[in-house]
Symmetry: C2
Subunit: 329 residues, 2 copies
């Protein structure tokens, strides 16, 4: 028995009356004489031997661990993404080392250091820090954020999503549209939601406005904007696209407080595809991100980088529209 009390291959070797090397071969499925194999397997069974992955990893430089950097799990998008990625990793024999950064740039940087110390086989990161220093020695895949030309970024097709939202609103009879966004001001994939929206409005000759709110002053600033655009208790926009479902829900609250209701007075579409966890009902009409596919793709590109072809630097997965009661469909 070892210092920890758990049996080691040494114990197994003694129990089976063979050498260390033979035990190792059996464990790793290398060719070994039939009776030897049986004796070893029986010894393993008898002793309840379990491989010590730390010793193995020290030797092989392969940990079967992937680090997952997430800002928080309090928001369902991150939680579901983490769920899917972890499940996907486990299916492939990997473990996931979860790190929560709370949107703190310092914490994000510190996590990248931890990842190196812990010799993870790779990192899947959803970060916000503007200037992350990342070591190129360990494979990285990001979600929704460009870290550099050598780091693949997985996202939903934000641009197409923005276009689809505008398209839907128009086809549902809207004439004057508004785009509202909140969130950190780092340049990221999700910015394309507004860009796609705007492109479609412009191309179709639709009247529209773009409103960008800073996190700190979001509710107040939005309310001021709202009041400035209400005449005789009538909102001058009849279609609103919000860059997240969360924002859409808050916008709907503020509208309701002013006697303006969706979908009668104004139609509202969010982005993410969040649904209530039990009823599975969406909180609003929304553009659905293919979270499971994003997870699968992230893991895939991280673990099986295409041999011949260069890894994609940006992979956009198809979105879809889901009516949720805040539009007239």
């Amino acid at each position: 028995m070892s210092s920890t009390g758990a049996p080691t291959i040494k114990d197994v070797a003694r129990e089976a009356g063979v050498s260390l090397g033979t035990v190792s071969k059996v464990i790793n499925g290398k060719p070994v004489g039939e009776d030897y194999r049986r004796r070893v397997e029986e010894a393993i069974e008898r002793l309840g031997y379990q491989v010590n992955t730390y010793a193995r990893s020290l030797k092989t430089n392969k940990t079967n661990c992937v680090a997952l950097l997430m800002p928080s799990l309090q928001h369902p998008f991150y939680a579901i993404l983490t769920d899917e990625i972890t499940a996907c990793l486990m299916r492939r024999g990997y473990r996931s080392l979860l790190m929560i950064t709370n949107f703190d740039p310092k914490a994000e940087q510190k996590c990248f250091d931890l990842v190196q110390q812990n010799k993870a086989d790779g990192v899947i990161a959803l970060t916000y820090a503007a200037d992350l220093e990342v070591d190129a020695s360990i494979p990285i895949v990001t979600i929704d954020r460009h870290l550099g030309p050598s780091v693949p970024c997985i996202s939903s097709d934000n641009y197409a999503g923005g276009q689809l939202a505008a398209e839907k609103l128009l086809s549902l009879g809207c004439r004057k549209l508004l785009f509202v966004r909140v969130g950190p001001d780092v340049h990221g994939e999700p910015d394309k939601r507004g860009a796609g929206f705007e492109s479609l409005c412009r191309d179709s000759g639709t009247e529209y406005a773009m409103l960008s709110l800073r996190d700190e002053e979001a509710p107040e600033a939005f309310c001021r904007y709202l009041d400035a655009h209400i005449q005789n208790s009538k909102l001058e926009f009849d279609g609103i696209f919000c860059n997240t479902d969360g924002l859409a829900v808050q916008v709907l609250d503020h509208l309701r407080a002013r006697g303006i209701h969706a979908p009668e007075d104004v139609q509202v579409i969010g982005y993410d595809g969040m649904v209530h966890y039990a009823s599975r009902r969406p909180f609003c009409s929304t553009i659905v991100q293919p979270i499971a596919d994003m997870a699968e793709s992230a893991v895939d590109i991280l673990l099986n980088p295409p041999e011949d072809a260069p890894r994609p630097t940006n992979l956009c997965l198809p979105i879809r529209y889901l009516p949720g009661g805040t539009t007239k469909d």
Copy 2:
């Protein structure tokens, strides 16, 4: 440089012109001559040395990793719990190894094996399998589930929560109460919600009924029950306590479909304290679990088992009531 390319203490020692042991002492904060320390620290800085935790753990039998067994992160209760536990672990210098079991007993068992192989320093587990075989060699703390007398179980005060729900409904004018539960039939802490509810009803001489639904047939069975207890489109109960918020939301849907509305026709209270992630509004009136405290306690008991006093076998944390529009307060 080592095989992996990353510098090792050997490289640092050479660079600093000192011995391995000295470097190790500096890294671990052991007493070392002032100029030696400086030289080592400079070398570390220059080389960008990072300790290899795998080598260290192999030697010290301490991994600074805690395994987290969760059924899923798609449900916000588990997600938030995971968030809080992970944050708490990181604050104490631990990493969390996340394992998702999807409520599958086989997966749960397999995860416990993985935990041993990965030499985690401990396990925090929220499981459902009826007969888990757990190795006593590694410290375990469970959430909401009793695994045996030697395994501490953290939970909210489910019994008091059930009582509080009944109490609230009565004080809000209800005369005939109903308790509804769904969920797996393993014996667990959450069962006490119904028990507490029932005890208060009985002690106060209140009329009440208890309804337990199996997961598979939940919606249909509940609707049948509902229809059997509606006379002239009037429900014979005026207060309902559901064992989760998720169930409460579904129950409210079924009631609404029959023209019965909360809180006018019937008052409904759920359990968990789930709120919408953006608006922070509860989905229904509810008994709030102190998730952050539960996380903190779980980590605390796992990592710092009380020296003298025996570890508690069951720790119930105080709940509170939160009105959410489905009751008349």
